[in-house]
Structures are given as C-alpha cells and as structure tokens.
C-alpha cells in the first residue's frame, strides 16, 4: 500500500496543497519551507492510529492547534488532511478525510471524519451518536479498535509509517532520549537492533556490512555486542596493519558511518512508507549520488514507499528520478506551495536542453538573497 495523493488545508506552512505522490518522492525546498512539516502529515496519521497515540495525543505532541494551523490562515478555519491510499491492482483504494479544529476550551475537536473504500463511504462523521454526545468528537474512529473494524487495514497502514532522521550523537548517547520507542532520531536505534530476532538481525547486519564496504572499505565485520551491564552496542572490526584488526563501537564510528548504517537498517526494517529527512547529511557526494537508485531498488523489492526530503544537488542529479517524483516547495506570503516538477514547463524545457534535474530545480528553491548571510560577519 502507498499514499497516492495528499490534500492539505491550513496544515502548518501549507494553506492549501493538492499533489499526487509516487512510490518514491523527493521534497525539495529552501530552509523553513516546510519539508519536514509535509512529512509530518504522515507522522500525524501514524500517531492517530498507533498504540499510545490517538487524536488528542497527536495534536498535543505538536503543541496544540495553534501550532498546527497555518499562519496564513484567516480567522480560525478547520485544518484538513485528506489522503488517498492505493495498493496493487485488485486491492481496495482507500480515502481518509479528516477535518479538525478546537472548541471553546481549546480542546482539539473532530469536525468531519470520512473513510471510503473503492469510492463507497464506510464512515461519515459527525453521525447520530456524535450529535447525541459531542464528547465523542474528541477522538477519531481511526484510533478506536471497537469502531474501526471496517477500515482496520487502513489504520494498520498508517501505523506502519516509519520516520527516520538519525542524529549520531543520540545513537552514541541514548541516555539523552530516555524512554522513547521508535525514536526517529536514533535514541533507541541500538535497542531496536537488539530486539530484532537474532537470525534476521545477523542477516541484516551482513547486508549492511556489504553495502557499507563501498563507503568504508576498511570496515570488516559488524555485530551487536553487549557490554558488562548488558547494554547493546554496535561494533565493527576495522582492518589495519595489525593482523587482528581493531574493534570499534558506535562511540567511535564516524557520523557518516552511523547515519548510513541507520539508513540501510531503516530501509530493511518494516514494509510501510519510510520517511527520510535529508539522508545526504555527513555523506560523501559519491555515496549520495547513488542513494536514489538504492532506494529505487529497495522500493522495487519491498514495494515500500519512500519519501525523502533533501537539499542535495548530488542526490537530485540522478537521471532516474522522475519529474513527478520531485516535489518542489516554494514559500510565499500565503503559505508554501507544493508542485511536482512535472507541472513546470520551464523545468521540462531545461531538462530537454541538457540540464540535470539538480541544475533545474535547486535554483528554483534557492532562498532569495542567500548572499546576505555574509553580512552577519559584520554585525
């Protein structure tokens, strides 16, 4: 299953968005244009559907309605998220439509919740029960097992979304992010690896090692290792002049090595949509260049959707990136506008003229007056 379309109203940076999504998508835009906020839509849906989540929790994790609602919105309009989920042919096509706002006590309130399957309405709220008892509108049906029976596949799909933005420092010092499970920043990355059944884990670590050899040729083996207190560590054996080589743990791994390990692990872990935040960070341009093709092949094998935010020209230089896979974010006074590169004639013309996608797209997302940053030095 994958998200094939997303419509937003008044969500964070976006006053209005309506874009199709491919199996792989690259979000490109200047700083603070809302790349992460666009990915956050899928995390929000995941929060709605997951254990320990739910509507109120999902809103409060984002610090309330006022932080969610677009600044460009006038007065207090509803926030709307609408997604279409498709799978292979023969499987149902789902639509999920949620409008929400807050009540007088600033509690988040569902205004409308609709689910349809192959165009047939499965759920439409507010219904009679909601009118009788408005308190019910503080929860979505999606999050409740006793009422989401007809669309539980959809809820399970939302729950399968994975987000990753590994911060190497957190992997090295997991104490900084206590108690988080599936911490996208890597706080429980080692714990996650340790929890994986041994055979699967070893197979994955072997594959990661093989892939990593391209980037870090001196890395011989990788394994999970527990210290005297039982805390899990990743350790790798580096070949050097000593015949035995030397073992190093994640504390000594370079930022690039750790991030690449996290990326490769995430690619193999799970089958739901994978959201990646700037996977190019700390990596060599030659490695970055092949990330899109690596994800294309992961995508083909696991049928898993990959949504990637990026600033990297090296990544976008790949010829295999479809124009409909590159989503351009352009901030404006009325919120950020999102468009697939395939909708822009100018980009098509530039590519036909021989430019790469990176050459055509990066200037479009360049912040105006970026050069003024240098003035900071004279302040």
């Amino acid at each position: 299953m994958r998200f094939s379309k997303i419509v937003l109203e008044n969500w964070k940076n976006f006053a209005s968005v309506d874009v199709p999504l491919q199996r792989r998508a690259f979000l490109v835009g200047p700083n603070a244009s809302g790349k992460s906020n666009l990915l956050d839509v899928f995390r929000f849906l995941r929060d709605l559907a997951s254990v320990g989540g739910g509507f109120r929790e999902a809103v409060s994790r984002r610090r309330g309605m006022s932080a969610i609602r677009c600044l460009a919105a006038r007065r207090y309009p509803d926030v709307r998220l609408y997604v279409v989920v498709e799978a292979a042919e023969g499987s149902p096509r789902w639509e999920y439509d949620l409008r929400f706002n807050q009540d007088n006590q600033r509690r988040p309130i569902v205004r409308e919740e609709k689910v349809s399957r192959d165009g047939m309405t499965v759920l439409e709220r507010p219904n009679d029960d909601d009118r009788k008892d408005p308190e019910r509108l503080t929860q979505t049906y999606l999050e409740q097992v006793n009422v989401n029976e007809d669309f539980r596949d959809l809820a399970a799909f939302f729950e399968s979304v994975r987000y990753l933005h590994i911060v190497p420092q957190l992997v090295r010092e997991p104490d900084r992010s206590v108690g988080l499970s599936h911490d996208p920043y890597g706080g429980d990355f080692l714990e996650q690896i340790a929890k994986t059944p041994e055979n699967t884990r070893n197979a994955r670590l072997r594959r990661i090692r093989d892939a990593l050899r391209v980037a870090v040729p001196q890395l011989g083996e990788i394994e999970l290792w527990r210290d005297a207190r039982g805390a899990p560590h990743l350790r790798g054996k580096y070949d050097h002049w000593r015949p035995q080589g030397a073992w190093q743990t994640e504390k000594e791994f370079s930022d690039g090595t750790l991030r690449l390990m996290g990326l490769l692990w995430a690619a193999m872990d799970g089958t739901g949509p994978l959201l990646l935040e700037e996977p190019e960070l700390s990596l060599h341009p030659e490695i970055i260049r092949f990330l899109p093709q690596m994800f294309a092949r992961v995508q083909r094998r696991l049928r898993r959707q990959v949504l990637i935010s990026t600033h990297s020209p090296d990544l976008l230089r790949d010829d295999g990136i479809g124009l409909d896979e590159a989503l351009l974010l352009r901030p404006g006074r009325e919120g950020t506008v999102v468009k697939p590169a395939s909708d822009l004639d100018e980009i098509r013309a530039l590519l036909q003229g021989g430019l790469t996608l990176a050459d055509a797209v990066i200037p479009q997302t360049r912040p105006e007056k970026a050069e003024q940053l240098t003035l900071f030095g004279d302040l």
Binding site: D318, D319, D324
Partner: protein, 220 residues
C-alpha cells in the same frame, strides 16, 4: 571505464568528472595539462554533437598532451555495452537476435537499451531500466546502477571491441599508453600507502551528455 582499464592489465587511478559532458568540456584543458606528467584517459559520448568522432576531437582537444588518451564513444557508451551481444542478452534477459549487430550505427543507443529492457523476461530489469510513462525521463529509476553492475561484471570489452570500432580504438589507445616509455617513467610512484605499485593510470571518466549527466561513469 574501470573495466576497460583493468582489461588491458592496468589499474585505474582517480576518476574525475561524473557531472556531465559540459563539465568535462570546461575542465578538459586541466586534464590535458595533467596528462603531460601522468597517463590520462578522457571518454565522452559523441551523441549528436558532431558528425563523427574526429571532428569532436578537433573541436575539444586539438593539441592533446603525450599521455592523454581522449576517446569518443560512437554515439553513446551504451553502444559499447550492446556490442557484447551474448552478455547483454543474458543481462537483459531478452533473445539474442533482438540485439542490434552494429551498435555504432544506432542514433540513440540508450533508447535502444531501454526498449530492449522493456521486452525483458525479468520484472526487476523492466522496473529498474524502463521509465514510467509519466516520469518524463528517458531512463528508469535504477538504470545507471544496473548498467554499472553489468559493465563491471559480465561485460567483455575484448569481445565488444570487435563490434564497436570506437571501443577497439580506445583499447588500442590504452595499450599504447601502457607501453609508452614516457608513461612508465611518469606514473605515480607508490610513495603513499594508497598508491598501488603498478598503478599506471589516472582515468578521467566520461559522463556523457548533459541529458544524462551523471550516469554510467563507471560503465565502460
């Protein structure tokens, strides 16, 4: 490229370029300058920039340095790959007789490669090499990595050279470079740990048209 260099018994050095043909065009004088002291090979696709390779040669690099081997693939490096018909057929999982016998005559060898992949018996080949109709790109999502994989494993430059004149010219040029007394004296010496004792070549690799600027650098 790496494969070509190893096939004549040499070791490739650093690879430059990879940013498309215009990039190489800008930098070629720099590479040529370096080729006064060490062996260099520069490879570009002819595409439709000139009618024949010598013309492009004339235009780009009228005065090559002694250790410069500037080669032009006619018309695209895919033609060199297609020239090994048996291996290409088994890599693409198509019938051998579908593969054109004279690849250098193809106006667009890349398109031919993609169209052959379209007929592949293997789903992963079709999905990796053939673009989705809506993508607006000439190649599929993992086209260049697949070709690099093929070129560095199953492709046989010696066999392909018999069907592609520009390739056999490149192989000859490399062999000459290897035998030239000048070059042997000027190869980087193994002073640093990374330089291998018999490293003769610094290769500069092509990357062809701007249309597909960064793919297939290591293809040949």
């Amino acid at each position: 490229m790496r494969r070509l260099i190893t096939s004549v018994g040499a070791m490739p050095g650093n690879v430059y370029g990879k940013k498309g043909k215009p990039h190489i065009r800008v930098k070629i004088q720099g590479y040529n300058h370096a080729a006064r002291h060490s062996s260099w090979i520069v490879l570009v696709d002819l595409d439709h920039d000139a009618d024949c390779a010598p013309l492009l040669h004339q235009e780009w690099l009228p005065h090559p340095a002694p250790l410069m081997c500037f080669r032009v693939a006619v018309r695209e490096v895919e033609a060199w790959l297609l020239a090994d018909r048996e291996q290409t057929a088994s890599f693409l999982a198509v019938r051998r007789n579908l593969i054109p016998g004279d690849p250098e005559l193809l106006a667009n060898a890349q398109e031919t490669m993609v169209n052959l992949a379209r007929q592949s018996r293997r789903r992963e080949i079709r999905e990796d090499l053939v673009p989705r109709p809506e993508s607006g790109r000439p190649v599929g999502p993992a086209y260049s990595s697949r070709l690099i994989e093929f070129a560095s494993t199953h492709w046989r430059p010696d066999v392909a050279a018999s069907r592609a004149k520009s390739l056999s010219g490149a192989v000859e040029c490399l062999k000459r470079l290897l035998q030239s007394p000048q070059s042997s004296g000027s190869w980087p010496t193994p002073s640093s740990a990374s330089a291998r004792p018999c490293e003769p070549k610094r290769s500069q690799r092509l990357s062809r048209t701007c249309r597909r600027p960064c793919n297939s650098e290591e293809i040949a």
